[in-house]
C-alpha cells in the first residue's frame, strides 16, 4: 500500500446538484502519472459534470480536489489550466471560422502588452503552431487555414497537440472519438497512447467501450451520479464492463 506512487489527481467525496437534480453523489477516485483512465457511464451518468468540475468550469457543492498533492482552490478554468489540467471538449473547443494558430493560442495569446491591450505576435504564434502541427504528425495546407477546412481527425489531433504544447500534465478528453470514422478513430487513439508514453495522464470520457477499452489502463464507472466501479483493465473483460454500465451486475 505504502509503495504506491503518489497520485497526480485526487477526487474526494465530490457532490454537485443543479437545482433539484443531484448530478454527482460522493464521487472519489485517483489518477496516477502516465495513466489512461476510462471514465465510462451511460448518458446522464454525470461524466460531463465531473469533468467540468475537474476543469474548473464550476465548483463542486461538496468535496475537494487535490492536484500533485495540493488542494485545488476553485477559481476559474483559466486558473485550472495554469495548474496543468487541460480539457479537450466534445465539440473540441475549436473555432470554425478562425485559423489554426488563432485556435491553438486562444486564451494564451503571445504578444506585447501595451496598457490593457496585447498586440498579437502572429509570426511567433505561426512558427510555434507549425512545430506543434509537425510534432503530432499532421500535414496541413497552411497555418492560416480556417478550422472548417480540416477533417474531424485533424481537428482532434490538433486539439490534443495544443494541450501537449502548453505543458498539460492531465488531459481531459470528452468523447474524443464520437464523431469520427473508424480510420480516424484509430489515429486519435494512437495519439492518446503516444501522449501517455510521453508522460501525460489522460481521463478519457466516453460511452463507447470499444473505443476506450483498447487504450485505457483503468476504468471508473459512473451510474446516476454515483461511482459504481473502479477496476484495472487486466481484471475485467469488456462484456463485464458493459454490464457494470448498464447497472445490472452490482450486487
Amino acid at each position: 500500500m505504502e509503495a504506491k506512487k503518489r497520485p497526480l489527481l485526487e477526487i474526494r467525496n465530490v457532490s454537485k446538484s443543479f437545482k433539484k437534480i443531484r448530478a454527482l453523489k460522493n464521487v472519489s477516485f485517483v489518477v496516477y502519472k502516465k495513466e489512461i483512465i476510462g471514465l465510462v457511464g451511460d448518458n446522464g451518468a454525470g461524466k460531463s459534470t465531473l469533468i467540468k468540475i475537474i476543469a474548473g468550469v464550476f465548483p463542486p457543492d461538496e468535496g475537494e480536489i487535490c492536484f500533485e498533492g495540493k488542494k485545488v482552490q476553485f477559481s476559474s478554468s483559466k486558473k485550472t489550466r495554469t495548474l496543468g489540467i487541460e480539457t479537450v471538449y466534445q465539440d473540441l473547443a475549436l473555432f470554425e471560422n478562425m485559423n489554426v494558430w488563432r485556435n491553438i493560442f486562444l486564451g494564451k495569446e503571445l504578444g506585447e502588452c501595451i496598457g490593457p491591450i496585447k498586440f498579437l505576435d502572429s509570426r511567433k504564434m505561426g512558427k510555434e503552431s507549425r512545430t506543434i502541427v509537425k510534432k503530432i504528425g499532421l500535414t496541413l495546407p497552411s497555418i492560416e487555414a480556417s478550422i472548417r477546412t480540416l477533417s474531424g481527425g485533424e481537428r482532434q489531433s490538433l486539439a490534443i497537440g495544443r494541450c501537449l504544447h502548453f505543458g498539460a500534465k492531465l488531459l481531459l478528453l470528452d468523447e474524443p472519438t464520437s464523431a469520427l470514422s473508424i480510420k480516424e478513430t484509430e489515429k486519435v487513439l494512437e495519439s492518446i497512447k503516444k501522449a501517455r508514453d510521453l508522460g501525460f495522464s489522460i481521463i478519457f470520457i466516453t460511452h463507447n467501450l470499444y473505443h476506450v477499452y483498447p487504450v485505457a489502463d483503468r476504468f471508473i464507472v459512473l451510474s446516476h451520479g454515483v461511482k459504481t466501479g473502479d477496476v484495472k483493465k487486466e481484471k475485467i473483460i469488456i462484456e463485464k464492463l458493459a454490464e457494470m454500465i448498464r447497472g445490472h451486475t452490482l450486487v
Binding site: V57, S77, T87, A93, F105, L106, I117, F119
Partner: protein
C-alpha cells in the same frame, strides 16, 4: 499537356474559391450594380464632388453605428437601443452647454460618458441577469426615447457652435469647401479593425460569438467581452450623434428613429453573421457605403425618398442571398 490543363483548372478554381469564400462578395457585387446603375442613369449628378460629399456625410452618420454593431454582432449580441442613444446624447450635450454653461469640450465629454453608461447598462443587464440582448435593448430603445421626448420634447434645439472644436468635430476641416467628417468613421474603423485582427481581444470576440461555452472553458471572460462591445457601440453612437450635432448645429429628441436597423442592415450586407462568430469591419463599411449610395442616388435621381427604403430592403435580401448561395 493534360497536367498543365489540370493545374490551370485548379489555379482558377482556387482563385474563384478564395473570391467566393469571402463573405463581402454580396456587398461588392451589389455595390457594383448600384454604382453602375446611377453612373449610367444620372452621370451628370451622380459623378460629382457634391454627390460624393453627401454620400460620405450620410455614410459617417450610420457608419459609426454600423462598425460598432458589426463588432457586437460578431460576439453574438444585438443592440436595438442605439437609434435612441443617437438622439439622446446630442440633447445632453446641448443642454449642458446652453443651460449649465459648460464649455463645449466638457459637455461633449460628459455626454459621451452618458453614452458609455448606457452601453454598460445594456451589457451588464444582458449578461448578468441574463436576458436576450434583443429584449434588453428593445426596452432601452423605448426608455431612452421616452425620457428624451419627456425632457426635451420634440423641439429642435439649435446651437451654432463657431469654435474650432465644433468645426473639427463636425468635419469642417477646411471651412465649408468639403465636409470631412468621414475621417471620424475611418479612424474608428481602423481602430476597430486593429482591435479585431491584431489583438488578443479580437481573438476573444470571434471565439465568444462562435462558441461561447468553449471560449469560456479556454479562459476567455465572455461576459466582459460582450459588455465591452456594448460599450464601444454606445460610445461610437454618441460620437456619431455629436458629429452630426456639430455639423448641423441642431439637436432634436426625435432624431435617429430606425437608425439601429440601418446599422444592422449595413453590418449584415457586409457579411457579418447574425449568428455570431463571423464578420469584418470593412464589410460593414462596404455595407454602409452601399446604403448611403442608394440614399444619395435616389434623391439625386429625383425619385421620391420614400422609395429608397424599399430599395435598401431589396439590397439586404440580394446581398445576403448572394453570400449564402455562393458560399455553399
Amino acid at each position: 499537356m493534360e497536367v498543365g490543363v489540370q493545374r490551370r483548372g485548379s489555379v482558377l478554381k482556387r482563385l474563384g474559391g478564395s473570391l467566393l469564400g469571402c463573405k463581402e462578395i454580396g456587398a461588392v457585387v451589389s455595390f457594383g450594380i448600384v454604382f453602375l446603375s446611377f453612373s449610367l442613369l444620372i452621370p451628370d449628378k451622380f459623378l460629382t464632388l457634391r454627390a460624393l460629399e453627401s454620400l460620405l456625410v450620410v455614410a459617417t452618420r450610420t457608419g459609426l453605428l454600423a462598425i460598432g454593431m458589426s463588432l457586437l454582432l460578431i460576439s453574438r449580441e444585438i443592440d436595438l437601443s442605439v437609434g435612441s442613444i443617437y438622439a439622446f446624447i446630442p440633447c445632453v450635450a446641448v443642454s449642458l452647454i446652453i443651460y449649465v454653461g459648460l464649455p463645449e469640450i466638457v459637455a461633449f465629454a460628459l455626454a459621451l460618458g452618458v453614452a458609455i453608461l448606457m452601453g454598460l447598462l445594456n451589457g451588464v443587464i444582458t449578461t448578468k441577469v441574463p436576458l436576450p440582448s434583443f429584449i434588453t435593448t428593445l426596452g432601452f430603445m423605448m426608455v431612452w426615447r421616452g425620457i428624451a421626448l419627456g425632457i426635451w420634447l420634440a423641439w429642435p434645439m439649435s446651437y451654432e457652435g463657431t469654435s474650432l472644436f465644433m468645426s473639427i468635430v463636425g468635419g469642417k476641416f477646411i471651412g465649408r469647401v468639403f465636409n470631412f467628417s468621414i475621417v471620424w468613421l475611418l479612424l474608428a474603423a481602423i481602430f476597430l479593425w486593429f482591435l479585431l485582427e491584431k489583438t488578443d481581444y479580437g481573438n476573444w470576440v470571434y471565439a465568444t460569438g462562435d462558441k461561447e461555452e468553449s471560449a469560456r472553458a479556454l479562459g476567455v471572460n465572455t461576459q466582459k467581452v460582450k459588455i465591452i462591445n456594448f460599450v464601444i457601440l454606445a460610445f461610437l453612437t454618441g460620437v456619431s450623434g455629436l458629429v452630426q450635432f456639430s455639423r448641423l448645429g441642431l439637436a432634436i429628441a426625435t432624431e435617429g428613429v430606425g437608425l439601429e436597423l440601418e446599422a444592422i442592415a449595413a453590418a449584415v450586407i457586409g457579411g457579418t453573421s447574425l449568428l455570431g462568430g463571423y464578420g469584418t469591419i470593412w464589410g460593414a463599411i462596404l455595407g454602409i457605403l452601399l446604403i448611403s449610395m442608394l440614399t444619395v442616388g435616389v434623391i439625386l435621381a429625383g425619385i421620391s425618398t420614400y422609395w429608397y427604403r424599399s430599395l435598401i430592403g431589396g439590397i439586404i435580401i440580394l446581398a445576403v442571398a448572394i453570400n449564402r448561395r455562393l458560399l455553399r
